[in-house]
Each structure stands twice: as structure tokens, then as C-alpha cells.
Amino acid sequence: MVKRDQTVVVRVGGEAGEGTVTLGELFTRIAARAGLEVYTFRTYPAEIKGGQVLFQTRLGVKRVLSEGDAADVLVVMNKPGWTENQRDLQPRGVLVYDPGAVSDPDTQGRAQFAIPAGVIAQELDFARGKNVVMVGALTWLFRLGLDLGRDIVNARMARHGDVLQQNLKALEAGYAYAEAHYPAPFPYALPLPEQFEERLLLSGAEALALGALDGGCRFYSGYPITPATGVMEALAKYLPAFGGTMVQAEDEIAAINMVIGASFAGRRSMTATSGPGLSLMIEALGMASIAEIPIVVVNVQRAGPSTGLPTKTSQGDLFLTLYGGHGDAPRFVLAPDSVKDCYYQMINAFSLAEYYQMPVIVLSDQAMASRVETMPYPESSCGIWSECLERQLPSEAELAKDYRRYRDTKDGISSMAIPGMTGGAYLSESLEHDVYGYPSQTPENHQLMMEKRSKKVEAARRRLAKWDSSARRWGHRGAKFGIIGWGSTRGAVREAMVQLGEMGIEIEAIYPHTLLPMPDRAVMEFIYGKKAILVPELNFSSQFARMISHRYYKQLDAQDIHVHMLAKEQGIPFKISEIYEAALEMVLEEGGK
């Protein structure tokens, strides 16, 4: 049995059409129900149905930070599942396999657990159920308890009413077979906690949706796009229960314009999309910016450019998000770095959008949106990681006389009347406009309004400097080496840092959660005194590293801090080892720890 502070990586390889993903998901849920923390990852085949997939789940008694690299337990349901994954089975790992699919795999001495899932399923007259047979076997091997297994199968497969009983039988048969043939303790079974706090088991997409609900979102319009569709599906389900509405639009341009309309009419509103959709929304983003209409746009990044690799992950949309707009169109950009953070940053996104009357883009990515993680129940929606701010409505006095929607103010924020408010009627303009909203073309007015809008960014920068959540920092305070990253690479970075720590290498990391405005003070404090920093990111042109080295060039240069870029654009997340090695290399190059 492994130790309490260890984690176990279970990888399943098999055909998508044959329930491989379901296998992984059921097993993950049973493990989570048993009190373990989980963190998953999966690949997507090119085929619409069928094709080879890999489902990986990492289990731990304590919080799991990433999906892990090498597999401790490899579960194989077909031949390619073995050939494609064998090199990733760690030296002391074990193989669990269906001997009907792979005969006599050469595991070079590693332990083997043969589960004839196909045969067992056939005996039950339920050939399709071989994946659930395997779930049963794993439930035994990991000693998760048959009852829990039954609960999960009951809950997850209820919709397929007639086959539920067959699935339960398959589970039991797999369990019984494994119990009978492998009674010895399983080397990778984790000690199950006797008591544990309740946890949520959420995908990143679901976390974004739930955070949005908590942030007060009541209108959603979107157009289906991989990998963002999950956000729409979750909100389609729950919004009506909150008196809200989800409209499937005819395209992304319609979606964002509906969102603008709904927000203009007083509702907290959002859309979610991915690269191609975001590109189509650029024009309307500028409209939200100039007309000062609060909207939230989630961009679940996938690998690009163009249609690119729709089911693969990337962080390649950073520049588009920061700079994509004709003219100078201010906006905010947030970057959650874990499933849990997706939840909180959505609350922040709505706070910032509403308070500053601006478009806010939340950057997630395919890997973070589709993986499932256990996370603690969120604290009250306005807790340490988020602040709840409201849209400023006009006072009665303002409405009573000469209401000026775009009044210039110290922080650029002017009150926004909502249709239906007596005395509030005004024109919301995509043209440059005067304080009333009426078109104006004078040089003086244009400059005034450009300044008004940009003052809001500066005001937000000041506020965000006080937010804990605007940047997260961990590791050895004051270490000579640093890592600056953003978004979903955080898990691999954290784990690599643990390993580096074990090697005696002190290192510290910072992950800004707002990329626009950047939490400059926090970053500059972090940089201070460093010898070198590593900037890992999943894109081709080192967008973030360029932004960091440009933005802080004075500090970096004055103190002779070297920036090491680590860019990877292959459609897949970082391996822990890639971060580890790059950090090690940085340390060595810079003359050791």
C-alpha cells in the first residue's frame, strides 16, 4: 500500500466507443466518493465516435495538483492501449488488462493483473459492459468498497434505465473476479481516509458555470464550440432555476451581441467560446468597451491557429485577448489556474465587469475545462478569493434632472441607468459620444472619453493590488530562482517545485490571476532579488514571457535577472518533468543554487 502523502496515477487506454472514458469516469467517482482527492486528464480521438483514447486519473489522500506524468497503474482495454502507453508505465508500475485484448504483454517484470472483462461481460450477455466489469475489478483492487461502486453506477447510469441492472451485474462480476483472483493487497491502493470533508467533484467547465451562477449571471448566450460547450450545457440546465435564460445563438457574433443587449437591460450576462469564436467576437468586444457595457466572455483556449486542433489544449490566445481590438478598447483579462480557481475568478469577473462597466475575458483552456478535480466547497461567494462588486446605478437625484450616462468622474465610472428606470433614458453608443451618449466627433470630446475609459483600468489596477487573488505566490520566499506562469500550467509547476525542493533547490513561483491589469506590484516584489526566472507556457511564441520581459524590463535589467522562456505548443499539457528539467537547467546555467 502506498503512503498517505503519495499519489497514484491510473491510466486507462482503450477505444472511445467501447466505454473507456466511462470506465475512467466511474472509477474516478468511486474513488472520490471513498474520500480520495482526484484529478483527471483525457485525450480525444480524431473520429467522432470511437478511436483510441487515454483517460488518466490521479488519486491522493491530500490535494492532487496535476494529472501526473508516468502511470503507476496502467489499465488496458485493447491492443493499442498497451502499445501506445507501455513506455509511460513507470518502472515499478503494474498492469491491469483484459487478456482477451492483449495476450501476454511483456511488462519486463512488472506485476500483471489479468481481468478477462470481455469474457465476463459476454457471459452476462452484455458484451458492452466489459468496461464496467473492469470498474468492478478496480474497485476491488483499490479496496474502494462494492457498495460505493454500486452507488455510483446507480447514480451515473440511471438514465439508461433498462441497462442499469446489467451494469450493476457487470460491476459485481468484475469485483468478484478480482476478489477471487487477486486477494493480496494491491500495491497501489491508497489508505482511505476514515473521515473527510465533503468535496465537490467538478470539471473546469462546470466550475466556470457554477462560479458564474454564484457571480450573479442570469443570462447566457453562446454558440457550441469545443472545448467550451460544457459551460453552456451546465448553464442551460441551471439558469431557469434562477430565473435566468440561456439562448443558443446562431453564431458567436449574435451570442456576444445578445449578451451586450441583456446586460444593457440590466442582467449580469456572459458567453463562453474558444479561439475561433473569440476571433469573431472582437468587433463586439470593442462595442462593449466604448459603450461601457459589462459583459463576461470566457475563452476556453484550444490549440490554433484557425480551426487548428479543436480538442487539444493551448495558451495561445493570450495576445488576442490582451490586444485584440481596433482602436484602444480597454478590457480586463483574468486567468484562473485551477478548477477551483475557475469558480472564484468567475465571481471576480462579474464583479469587475459590473463595477467598471467593461468587458472581462476569462482565459481557461481545454485541459482545465475538461478535467475533473475534487475541490473544497467554496467559501461564501465573496470570500478571500473574490470581491463582490455591483454595477453603479444612478441616484434619484441624478435621474431627476439632466442624467448624464457617461459623466466624467475621478475613476472614470459613471452610473448606468437600466431601461425601465424613470428619467434614465439614454443612448448607448458604439460611436464616440458625449456625456449623454450622443454621437460627438470633436477632438476634445474623443480625448476626454478615451481618458474616461482608461481611468477605469487604472482604478481597477489600484483595487486589484489589494486583492489576494490577483496573484498567487508560493514556494520558498525569497528564493533566488523564480517561476512566473499563468493558467493551467500551475499544477505541473507546483509538483516540479516539490521535486526540486527534494533536490535541495529553493525556488519560488507566482501566478497572476489578472493579466490585465497586471498586478505589477506583486510581480515586481516577486522579481526583486531573483537571479533568474522561468516562464513556462503552452504556446509557440512565448507570449507571456515576452509580455513579462517587456513589461518589467527595467527591473529585470537593473538587477540583471535573466528570463528563461519555456514555450511548448504541441496541444498537450506540460509534463512535470519538463518543468523540472527546465528549472534545473536554469539553476545550472545561472551558476547553481
Binding site: 467533484l201 451562477l213 432555476a241 445563438a249 453564431d251 457574433i253 437591460a265 463586439a284 425601465g420 453608443e429
Partner: protein
Amino acid sequence: MSTRKAKDYKSEVKPIWCPGCGDYAVLNALMRAFAELDIPQDTIVVASGIGCSSRFPAFLNTFGIHGVHGRPLPLATGIKMANPELTVVAVGGDGDGFSIGGGHIPHAARRNVEIPYIVMDNSIYGMTKGQASPTSPEGIKRKASPYGTVEAPLNPIMMALAYEATFVARTFSGKLKEMVEIFMAAIQHPGFAFVQVLSPCVSFLDTYAHYREITAPIPEDHDPTDLLAAMRLAQATETLYLGIFRCMADRPGYSRRFQEIQSAVHPMTVPEVMDRYQR
């Protein structure tokens, strides 16, 4: 009886339109329709795109939103769904509506969202100084079409009928009274109401005289629930019929449908939603 007058809907902004532009009549007619229906200014939203015609909301005393080119319908849909109590009117031009925005009309129609959509169709791009629009007559010569256009004009009424819009009408800037009536009917219609206004551009394609000649009221015996009959009328191009081609009030509107869903669903709190995701 109405307490509001047409002029109560007027803003202080002087229209930028050329003297004689058909859009003045549309503005007057809509203000009159609002007044007749006595709708409080602050409960009206007029959403538009970009073009001469789309400058419309600035000249009104109601809430207005002058969006980007071609998107008045998505804007208006968002507004209506956010607050179904509002009177939401979408307006724009033929370029805005049938060219860049043409993809939105079928969807507004199939949603049957409770919005009158008034297209000021002058068969030209006025704002950008006279290029051919989707409804320009074939062969029209302009700077951007020096050899004459070779595209056939679209038939907006026929299109709206093909989308099964539940209210489809045509009117003409030269007929103020009829226009007011049609606008009133469109505003009161409990679904998507498509209104094509023949609204001449005196600067780049003056069609007043031509329309005076070839327009005629829809025959009294026309049955506005008969789709094919409406299509037959729409097909006529020697005579342009004015009036209500189609009106079907039996299909509930989009915001109504969502309200039904909302009231059928059990209300939830965020913690209740979370419990569904308990591991």
C-alpha cells in the same frame, strides 16, 4: 386615451439626415405609434445597427442602443430576454439588415421573439455614399459598380415569409397614416414582426415617384394566415403591395416560452446546485 404626444418621444438631437430623406417619416410614424399606444418613454428600447437609418435611436427620447453594423436583432433579442416587460424595437437599413446582418433574421423569426423589426429599405447604402445594396435593382451603376451590378435584388417580404415570421408587413415613407397603423400592430404583435419600409434615399437613389406609382394596398380579401397567398402577393414586383402580408398570433413569443420554462422549473440556490456535484 393617450396622454403622450408624438413630440414627447423626440430627443434634442437634430437628425443628421438629408432634407427629404424617407427616414424622417419613419421617425415620425414610430413616435406617433408610441404615443397612440401611450408607452412610457423609459420602458422603450430602440436598438439599431449602423447606417443613416440606424442613427434613429439618437433622435428619440427613449432608451436607445446604437450597436455595431448588422446586429440590431441580436442586441434586441438580448434586451427582450433580459426584461420581457420592455417594449423593444429593432431598426436599421437594408444594408445593415439584409447584407451583413442577413443571417440573423431567420433566427429571430424562428424564435418568434417579441420584437418589431423595422427595416428602412432605400435599396442603397446611404451612409457610405451610395453603393448597391441587396435590394438595389439589377444593373445599377455607382462608383463601386461602374459597369452596373449583375446581382438580382432580394425580396425581403418573401424571405420573411419563408422564415415563417409571424408578422410580415410592408409600408412606405410616403404613407404616414398607414405606417403608423402598421407600426402599432407590429408593436402589439406577440412575436417577431418584420416590417419593410420603402424609405427613399433622396441623395443616392430617389425612388419616391417610382414607389408612388407602383405601390398599392394589399387587397382587402387577403387572408393573413394563408402563407402561400401572402407569398403570391410578395411575388408581385410590378406592383409592390403595402400592408400586412401575414399575421399569426397563435404562436407564443420567445420570452413567454422561457418564462414558462422558468416557472415550471423548481427554483434553486447556488449551494443546492453544488450539492449535485458532491463527490
